[in-house]
Structure formats: structure tokens, C-alpha cells
Amino acid sequence: MRPFTLSKPSTISQAVSGKNEAVRYIAGGTNLLDLMKKHISEPDALLDVTTLLSDTVQSAPKGIRIGAMVRNSVAASNSDIRSGFPLVAKAILAGASPQIRNMASMGGNLLQRTRCPYFYDITMPCNKRKPGSGCGAKDGENRMSAVVGYSEHCVAVHPSDLCIALAALDASVIVTGKDQKAIAIPFKDFHRLPGSTPEKDNNLPENAIITSIDIPANAFNKNYAYLKVRDRDSYAFALVSVAAALQLDGLRIREARLASGGVAHKPWRWYEAEQFLKGKEATQATFSQAADIVIKEIKPLSNNGFKLPMLKGAIEVALQNCLTA
């Protein structure tokens, strides 16, 4: 790891003004330290934000505000989150390991980088790590890679589980930028597609800091499911994951949310399928049709054709599980 300095800003304005290209915020460090050890990120300085940012969860009638420094494990066991937004807790618990969740912050989770193995190996080509060097995964080991929204420059997926639930629930990310103003970025606009600039994972304004995540109050706390299909049953990233949530009138679907991980460079919402589900009866046949709509959208790569049947199955099962949650 390259030598760096470490300091602890005491105000948000200090943090933001101390930040530049060669400086990184560090929260739990569970991703950043690995990136530094592997020479993927080589900052001159780190700003430790662990005592600066809020580590509390505030509940209000219009929604919930989760401080950026709330640890993943704390969020997953918070009673307001568990009762009002249980999909979030479920998604968090499907990720990483207890030890990592104890360290990982909510803000850091949003900004974790892809697990594409070429990205993590500096001897390999990777446009995301080194723009212009090529994409190792596109015609190589792309079993875990994207099936939708990718470009010829990058086929990586966003690895977070939490973010899939946040995308499904229309969360927004509260950030403070260089101008010291707090703004809210809708979750669907927070992460990016790779296009020709895969080095950019998201639309967080340069040097801005995440202070909290807001989730609007909703009625998706009864019929919801998070299904993660993976090679091993704990401590593995998703082959595909599905966050599903329904609002039901009897058997009729009033509102539906459907999002997936392991499929795209960003948490992916299946808007068309959601639209389709609205007003239909919550039956296996309906779910199967919704899944068919989803898989029409996807274009697998050389080694991940399996994601098509897997996604279809996972969506059917996740929607079905909403009825028994």
C-alpha cells in the first residue's frame, strides 16, 4: 500500500473543503483498504469520517433517515427499519459476513466498487480501473457480469445487496458538495451505466460527501422478499438477486416493486414488469408473465447465459415469497 496521511475532520464543511482528487473519505474501510492494498486506489490522504457523520436512524411520518455512518449490522437490526422497511434489513443480511457488516457503513456500501476480478488485478486490462486499457471481462471470465445496461467498455455489475432494496423503495441519497449545500439525489439517478466512462460508478458530485439515506414511508412492509442466488450460501456475491415488494388489496396487486442485483452496472429496476403487475391478481401465472417481461430485456454475454433462466426463476420465486413473508 502506498503511504498516506490520515486525518479526522471535525465538521462536514471541513471534510468537504479538505477533499480533492487525491484524497478519499474512509468509513468502515472494508472496501477502500482492499483497493489500496491492491493498488487500485492510491490516495495521498484519507479523511476519517467515522465520528463525523451521523450514526443514527431517525424515523418520521414521511419516512426514515439513515445516517451515512450507521453500520450495516446496526441498520439491519434497527426496529424502525425492521418494521417499516424490512426489505432493507433483509437485503443487508444477505450481504457479506457479520464481521464485515459490523464495520461497513451505509454510505460506504453505496460506493463500494465492482467485484469484477479483472478490476481487482492490476496486471489485467480494465477500463474501469485504467480507462483505455480494454475490458478483460467482456470476452473473458464474465460469468458474474452484467446482462443488461452494459457497454462495450465495461460489463461489470454493482455488487451491493442493500442498494437493490434502496432502489426498489425509491430512496434518495443526501449529499453535501463543495458548495456546502445539501442536496438529495434520487436513488435511480445515483448509480450510472458504464457507457464510455466506466471509471465513473455514480453521479455523486466530485468531492461531495454522503450524509444520509432517506427512504420515503411506504406500505411495502408486509409483502416483500429479497432473494439472492449465489454459489455459496453465505459470504458470496449474487449471481442474481431480486428485491420484490407488493401492496395487495386482497389478491389484487395495487403496487409492485421489482429490482435486481447481479445484472447491471447499477441496481436495476424492472419498471415494465412492475407496471404489468399493477392491478393483476397475485398468482403464479401473473408472476411468471412478469418474469417473462423481465427476461425480454436482457442480453447475456458469452459465459452468463444462465442468468436468463435464473432470473426468470428468481423473480417468480421472489414474487411468490412476497405472499408468505
Binding site: 500500500m1 467485484r115 488485478d121 489485467m124 459470504y235 452468463n304 433462466p309 426463476g313
Partner: protein, 735 residues
């Protein structure tokens, strides 16, 4: 005053590990945890290309880093007598001639070692070393390469292929397994210290201190006794510590060069590259039976990868020649050199790979025959004689193991036709397979030191890599002396102690148990000698009739306390040493351990997910010395089998001659969530011929055949026959 006065009373926990407290409290030291006065740190730099020649290495930036002491390369290293010239290097059979070649054989091959005052400085400086290469074409493509390499006979052909060409039932299929990496929890590490010009002290992670000692005595041309190797605590090995690797040698060279103790611990990424792996394999099986299900013949071809600088033979077809009666048998093999580092033995080496193919093929045949695979196996087992040499098995209880396992899993609930049992989206199936392993034994030594208070320390050079060897030694010493366990301490893993073979190949306990028993007898005899000065009856006492207790010795009701024995003879420490090894019994008998694996799996028809519902493993390991440690070995091996069957796989990118991924987030082995509590049972009948305790090794058999049992259960559940490991959800969905 006893040894354990101030220690937690772990000995009273039934079957507890003697080193358990030391391990969980951190007081037990693994190689990298020692601090040697004046030590500095080494970090290896790997080649960024997979084949070629080093043109130049640029060290300037690295040398600027504060704290850097020196940097070893092929152009700057100490003189090593065993590597003095090409001929010597060849003769040394060491493998990669680290720092004695400018050739690159695989990506990540060490090209330099930075030595600095701190680990951080060494790590940073290592990242600044770069090299220029003449690049050659690298080949890491096993699938494309193996068809071009012809297989040749391994072992004598029995009967002929022609003679069973007309049998009614024949299964012919190909099976493949990807590279698998050991990845024990503890990373390999060495601290090397030259205590004088020709005396070397090593704290090292390995599975055999005497092997390390011998290897370096030869290379440095110094007496074996001048090298002390300390490996008291070893955090797992699975075979990766059975040979001496280049990084250990590099550390010794570094210590020589900078004239200070040097510590090197491999990084996790380097663990994927520098300490072996189970090589990728391709196998083809043709097996035939008559309409009764009597096996008519088998033809087994096996190929696996190796490195271009060193040949490694895994012995995949060995098991085919061992378990069943085949009057016609042909086994062939080949190795396929690739630009990858050298593979090595990994738990159940060879047999584990071979058993996957053979035991799946037999399962396939059973469905053709419409015969129960349990019955089919029982009918064809070579239960009396070793089919390879015609010798009688000293003991072989595989038939009993199979029967017991079938009862434990409720085999009668299995549907003979695949795909019949379902639970919602889950399909349920049963599978079984067997494993066998030659029960070896090596010559081993042990000694016992006895104090005046009656406490003893049993000592050997053998390592305990987590297998429970030390605990078993204590248990055996207790059984054969009568001294209570609380009064028995163990010291091991140090080359200054009586020599013993490496801990591997399921021979550890079998080898050391004989030595411990012999030493217990030597101790009794020695004490009887002193006792005879006090009481004549002891003159003719034979060890087997002498009893020891915590307080004294007795023979035919003549008790003499240790206190008086010590006092009368003016004793300080009483020491006995003995060794014991295999003998004529090996001419008369063949020896084997075996396991019968059964499992019930659920396969999700929509996501392809496989869950192991129940896993049963019945093991014939002779007499079980410590049931808890033995069961622990077997369930760990079974979990290894789950990993092998369902997830372990180290991919390579053939375009870049490179491994893809090198961390434990991406390389999946099974965790608790993937494994049920494995139900382990033992036959627990002593093999009276193998050694004085009657115990046979069982470290390997727990994994040999378990992947096949799982693949067979998946077939029974789904009707999908998956012949390529690992069976990940994608393969299920696409089959």
C-alpha cells in the same frame, strides 16, 4: 505441583484438544507470530507475465523507500551450493530454482524479494519493483491442450479390453474438475535465522519439520543437525505444507544476504500461486457389467495439468485399481504442462479426483442396470483381497460402512427413478459413493520425559496441523501407561525432537502411535530398572505387566512411589526414547481405510440452487483413538467435499496466461451455511496388524468420494447428470 496447576482444566472436557486453549487465546504461536530479535521483513514480487525471460529489473524506486535493506533478484543473491550450476539445480529436484534463473514459467513467479525494516516498508517498496521481459507465448489452457497429449498405461493391465466388448451394460463418459486451491486459514510463513555461518533456525509453516530440515541441509550443504525447524502450531495444510516451497528458500537466502533474521508471510493472493493446488483434470471412464450387475471391466483414462518447470503426478487412477473386483482393467494417465505454478497433493490427492469419475460412472451404470447402487457396489467390492497385488486386506470393512450408512440416511426412502420426490419447487434426491485410501505408516520416533512428580511430556518432531495428533498422543500415552491425562503434556513440531515423518497422507497417527507405544514401554522398562534396585521382583518385569499411575509404579502388587524411586536413585529427569515403524506385516497384508458417503440433496428447479439436506459418512479408520478429533476430521473433509462438488474452482484466463481472481471473496469453499451437521460414524474395529494401537489414518477418506455422492444425489433428484465440477447453479439450470 503439576504442570497444569495454573492452566485451565481443558483435560476434563471430554476428548478436548490439548492445545485448544492455546489456540483460542492466541498464546499458541504460528510461524509468522514469532518475534526474533533484530528481524526484518521480506516481501516477494511476482512476474507480471506468464512466460519469457527477464530482460531487466528496475529497483531504483524501491530502493528509495525508507527502511529498505536489500533486494534479492536473480542478479543479486547469496551463493547456494545446491544451486551452484545447472547440473546441481537439476539434481536438487527442488522445483522452481528461485533467483537462480531469468526464465519466467508462470505469472506471479517471484522475481525479487524486497527486505526492509518493517512489513509496511517492504510491501510498499515491493510494489515499486518493475521488470522488462522478453515475452513468450504462454499456455494455460488445459481443455485445449490435453487432447494433444497421449495417455499411457499406469499400472499393469488386467485381462483385456476386448474381452468385455460384448457385455450388455456399458457406461462411457467424461468427467472434468477445475483447479482447486488449498487455502488453509494460516498463510504460509517463514522466519529464517542464521545463528552462525552454518547453523540455521527456521520458524516455518509446513507439515513435516524433518523434511524441511533435510531439504535445506542438502541445498546449503550443511549437516542436517545444524538446522532447527520449529512448526509447533500449524493452521491447516490440506497438503500445501507437504513439500518445501520456493518462498521458504527465498527467505533463507535473504537472511543469508542481509545477515539478519528475515520474516516472510505470503499474502492471500500469493497463496493462490506459490503453494500448490489440486490440478485441473479430465477423465474418461468406460465401465461394463453383465446383466446381473457383475462388473466386467473398466477403462479409465485420466489427465491433469502440471507446470512446465516441474512434473507432478497426482495418481488419479490409483483408486480404480483398489476398491472393486475388475478382472479386466486398464488405467492410463498423462500430465499436461502449462504455464502455471506447480500443483501438489491436496486432501485425498489423486483418489479424490479419480473417485469422482469412477463413483459417478458406477452410479450411471446402476441406473442402466436398474439396480440399487448400494447393492451394485456391495456385489462388486474387493472386500477380501487387494486386487492390485492379491494380498489379503488386513482389515477392510467398507461393506459394513456402506450398510451402516444406508441405514443412517434411510436409503430405503430413495426413489429408484430420478425426479420423483418433490417439495414445492425443490426436487429431492439421494446419492452415495465410496472412498478408499491406502493406510500407510512410516517410521517415527518419540521420547518421554518424566519428572519426579509423575508428570510426563511426550515428544516428537511430527507436526499437528489441526488434526489432533498431539491430543491423540496424549490419549495413547494415557492408555499405555495409566498416567492420567492431566499429567501428560505433549511437545511436537520441532526438529530437535525425535524424528518423525510428515503429517500427511493419513499416515500421521498410524506412524506416531507406534512410536508413542514403544516409548511408553521403554519408559516402563527404564523405571523397572530403577525399581529393581529397590525390589528384586522388578528384575524380570516385562513392560506389558508394569502399571504406572500418577503416584508410582507397580508390578504384581509391588508398588513403589515415584518419590521414593527418585530419592533412592538420586534421579532428576527420567527419559526414554524409542522409534517404531512398519515391518513384515506389509509383506503379508494390504492396508486400507475407507468411507461410505451418503447424502440427501434438494435442488431448486427454478434457481438451480443445491442444498445438502443430510450428509452421512461412515469411516473405517481402525480403532478410533479420540472420537471427537476423528469426527472433526471427517466432517471437515465432508465439508471439503461439498466445496469440491458445488463451488470450488480457480478459473484461468487463457488469453493472459493468468489466474482470474485471487481472494477468498471470489474463491468459494463451503461455509457452515452450505453444510448440514455431518453425521459421522465409525466402524471402530482395530486393525491389529498395522500398528500397536490398531488405528488407521482417516484424514483423506472423508473427502474421497463425497463429491460423487453429491453429484449422484443431484441426478437422483433431477435426472440431470453433471460430470463437470463444480456443479454451480448455472450448470443445473443449463443441463
Amino acid at each position: 505441583m503439576g504442570f497444569f496447576d495454573n492452566q485451565p482444566d481443558i483435560q476434563h472436557i471430554p476428548e478436548g484438544r490439548i492445545e485448544g486453549i492455546a489456540k483460542v487465546t492466541g498464546s499458541g504461536k504460528y510461524a509468522a507470530e514469532y518475534k526474533v530479535n533484530n528481524q526484518c521483513y521480506g516481501v516477494l514480487v511476482g512476474s507480471s507475465v506468464a512466460a519469457g525471460t527477464i530482460k531487466s529489473i528496475s529497483l531504483d524506486d524501491a530502493k528509495q523507500v525508507a527502511g529498505v535493506i536489500d533486494i534479492l533478484t536473480h542478479q543479486h543473491k547469496p551463493f547456494v551450493p545446491g544451486f551452484a550450476d545447472e547440473a546441481k539445480i537439476k539434481e536438487a529436484h527442488f522445483g522452481l530454482p528461485i533467483f537462480y534463473t531469468d526464465k519466467i514459467y508462470f505469472k506471479g513467479q517471484p522475481i525479487a524479494m524486497v527486505i526492509a525494516e518493517t512489513l509496511e516498508e517492504a510491501t510498499y517498496a515491493a510494489s515499486l519493483v518493475s521488470a522488462d521481459y522478453t515475452i513468450d507465448k504462454a499456455n494455460v489452457d488445459f481443455d485445449k491442450s490435453h487432447p494433444g497429449i497421449a495417455a499411457s498405461n499406469t499400472g499393469k493391465e488386467r485381462g483385456s479390453l476386448d474381452s468385455w466388448s460384448n457385455v450388455p451394460y456399458v457406461t462411457e463418459a467424461e468427467y472434468t474438475i477445475q483447479n482447486e486451491v488449498h487455502n488453509p486459514m494460516e498463510m504460509h510463513a517463514t522466519i529464517a535465522q542464521w545463528t552462525s555461518d552454518d547453523k540455521l533456525k527456521l520458524y516455518d509453516k509446513n507439515q513435516g519439520v524433518n523434511n524441511v530440515q533435510r531439504t535445506f541441509a542438502k541445498l546449503w550443504n550443511i549437516p542436517t543437525g545444524n538446522i532447527e525447524v520449529i512448526s509447533e502450531f500449524v493452521g491447516g495444510g490440506f497438503g500445501s505444507g507437504l513439500r518445501v516451497w520456493p518462498h521458504t528458500f527465498a527467505t533463507i537466502m535473504a537472511a543469508r544476504q542481509v545477515k539478519r533474521p528475515v520474516k516472510l508471510m505470503l499474502t492471500r493472493p500469493q497463496m493462490f500461486l506459490l503453494v500448490g493446488y489440486r490440478p485441473a483434470s479430465w477423465q474418461k471412464i468406460k465401465i461394463g457389467a453383465d446383466s446381473n450387475g457383475q462388473f466386467a471391466g473398466i477403462w479409465h483414462i485420466a489427465k491433469h495439468s502440471t507446470s512446465v518447470y516441474e512434473n507432478f503426478e497426482d495418481g488419479i487412477t490409483r483408486i480404480t485399481r483398489m476398491v472393486y473386483k475388475f478382472s479386466n482393467l486398464k488405467t492410463e494417465s498423462a500430465i499436461v504442462p502449462l504455464n502455471l505454478s506447480a500443483p501438489t497433493w491436496m486432501r485425498g490427492p489423486g483418489d479424490c479426483t479419480g473417485a469422482f469419475a469412477v463413483e459417478c460412472a458406477i452410479d450411471e451404470l446402476s441406473y442402466q442396470l436398474k439396480q440399487d447402487p448400494v447393492e451394485l457396489r456391495l456385489k462388486n467390492l474387493a472386500i477380501e483381497k487387494d486386487p492390485e497385488n492379491g494380498k489379503t486386506w488386513s482389515t477392510n470393512f467398507l461393506n459394513e460402512g456402506i450398510q451402516k450408512g444406508a441405514t443412517m440416511i434411510n436409503w430405503k426412502n430413495r426413489q429408484p427413478v430420478p425426479g420423483q420426490e418433490t417439495d414445492g419447487d425443490w426436487k429431492i434426491g439421494y446419492g452415495m459413493a465410496v472412498g478408499m485410501w491406502g493406510a500407510g505408516r512410516g517410521k517415527a520416533g518419540a521420547s518421554i520425559k518424566m519428572q519426579r512428580d509423575g508428570t510426563i511430556t511426550v515428544r516428537t518432531a511430527m507436526t499437528d496441523i489441526g488434526t489432533g495428533t498431539g491430543t491423540a498422543m496424549q490419549n495413547i500415552a494415557h492408555d499405555f501407561t495409566g498416567i492420567s491425562k492431566n499429567n501428560i503434556k505433549v511437545e511436537l513440531g520441532n526438529s530437535n525432537l525425535p524424528p518423525a515423518p510428515s503429517q500427511g497422507g493419513s499416515t500421521g497417527l498410524s506412524s506416531i502411535s507406534g512410536a508413542v507405544v514403544a516409548t511408553c514401554e521403554a519408559l516402563k522398562q527404564k523405571l523397572a530398572g530403577y525399581a529393581s534396585l529397590q525390589n528384586d521382583v522388578y528384575k524380570d518385569a516385562l513392560a506389558k505387566d508394569i502399571l504406572l499411575s500418577d503416584t508410582g509404579i507397580s508390578y504384581k502388587a509391588n508398588f513403589i512411589s515415584y518419590a521414593s524411586l527418585w530419592e533412592k536413585n538420586n534421579l532428576d529427569l527420567v527419559e526414554a526414547e524409542a522409534s517404531s515403524g512398519p515391518g513384515e506385516e506389509r509383506q503379508k497384508f494390504s492396508f486400507c481405510s475407507s468411507a461410505a458417503h451418503f447424502c440427501r440433496v434438494r435442488v431448486h428447479s427454478k434457481t438451480g440452487k443445491v442444498k445438502i439436506d443430510k450428509m452421512v459418512c461412515v469411516v473405517d479408520g481402525g480403532k478410533i483413538v479420540n472420537e471427537k478429533a476423528a469426527a472433526n476430521q471427517v466432517s471437515g473433509a465432508a465439508a471439503g467435499g461439498i466445496g469440491m462438488a458445488l463451488m470450488e474452482e480457480q478459473p484461468v484466463d487463457t488469453r493472459y496466461g493468468s489466474l482470474v481472481g485471487n481472494d477468498l471473496a471470489g474463491y468459494h469453499f463451503a461455509v457452515n451455511a452450505d453444510s448440514p451437521i455431518v453425521e459421522v460414524a465409525f466402524i471402530n474395529k482395530p486393525d491389529v496388524n498395522i500398528n500397536p494401537t490398531g488405528s488407521k489414518g482417516l484424514g483423506e477418506v472423508g473427502i474421497i468420494g463425497s463429491a460423487a455422492a453429491i453429484a449422484n444425489a443431484i441426478y437422483n433428484a433431477t435426472g440431470k447428470r453433471l460430470r463437470n465440477l463444480p456443479i454451480t447453479p448455472d450448470k443445473i439450470l443449463q443441463a
